[in-house]
């Protein structure tokens, strides 16, 4: 995921949708990397035979928290220098090697209080097979920190 900063436009309004690609063709190495970083070596994530014979899966699956972590990175890319107050959601399906995952963040509400703008987002991550994670985030950011080119916010955020 490439860096995206300062795209948290002051002109964002409810209904605005940020969209991006979280991962293209998830690799087993990505799953292994997350297992090492999180310390979660549950066999269903690292052992194909275990996943097939003991867990009834076609092979290893990614950690749900890897999915959520990727969504969290997307949220932080949008918020940039702002701060996230809350972040949460439901796991609807696991990721498998080869999956490409996209994400959307829809602006539900914008509340200005003094110099702080608080924005609520609805989040949805999906593969070609359907939605894998659905959640919400609330973030604060100082107002006036960024002016989009040509006074227009980008319609699509690609990360």
């Amino acid at each position: 995921m490439s860096n995206v900063h300062s795209l948290w436009v002051d002109t964002v309004t409810p209904g605005y949708v940020f969209q991006g690609v979280l991962v293209e063709e998830l690799g087993r190495a990505h799953i292994a990397q997350y297992a090492g970083a999180a310390g979660d070596f549950n066999s269903v994530h690292v052992d194909d035979e275990f996943a097939r014979t003991k867990a009834g899966r076609p092979g290893v699956i990614a950690h749900g928290m890897l999915t959520m972590g990727l969504v969290g990175t997307f949220v932080q890319s949008i918020v940039a220098e702002g701060s996230v107050r809350n972040f949460g959601g439901r796991f609807l399906a696991p990721l498998s090697p080869g999956d490409t995952v996209t994400c959307s963040a829809t602006v539900d509400a914008v509340v200005d209080e003094g110099a702080i703008r608080t924005v609520s987002l609805t989040l949805e991550a999906a593969t070609a097979a359907g939605v894998v994670f659905r959640g919400n985030a609330i973030a604060d950011r100082a107002r006036g920190g960024y002016q989009p080119p040509n006074d227009k916010p980008p319609l699509t955020l690609t990360v």
């Binding site: 991962v23 990505h30 999180a38 310390g39 070596f41 269903v44 890897l66 972590g69 949460g88 796991f91």
Partner: protein, 145 residues
Amino acid sequence: MPFDAPIEAGQVLIFARSVGATDPRFEAQLSSAHGTPLLTPLTFVRALDHFDPEAKTRPSLPRQEAGRGGRADTLHAEQHFEYFAPFRAGEHVVVESFDGGSWTKAGRNGRLTFTETVTEYRDREGTLLVRARKVSVRIGDEQRA
């Protein structure tokens, strides 16, 4: 049991890479002075499980396999975080988990039993930094488990 975890900018960077974060601030903060607030991925607290002496998903030699980290019929259904204050370089946090609520509802494959676990991450002065709430679901009737 509560456990103590150090906050290290290097571990933050490793975790950030594992969730696709390439913000240059993760590298820049490697040289942060003790006590400097750190940028952390939103799910970074999961990495602190490395310091849980009772973690069940970590393989321990000479055993070859890590545990499943829970029952085979139990799934991680939801995860929620509240953020109150940043982690600081070189400081330690105390991690403590509590049982939350429990409820059931009917599912297509039998009864679904939901259980909550709340985990709090506090600095050594007791200030709450992050609260995590995990919801697990067990599928099927108790007799099947």
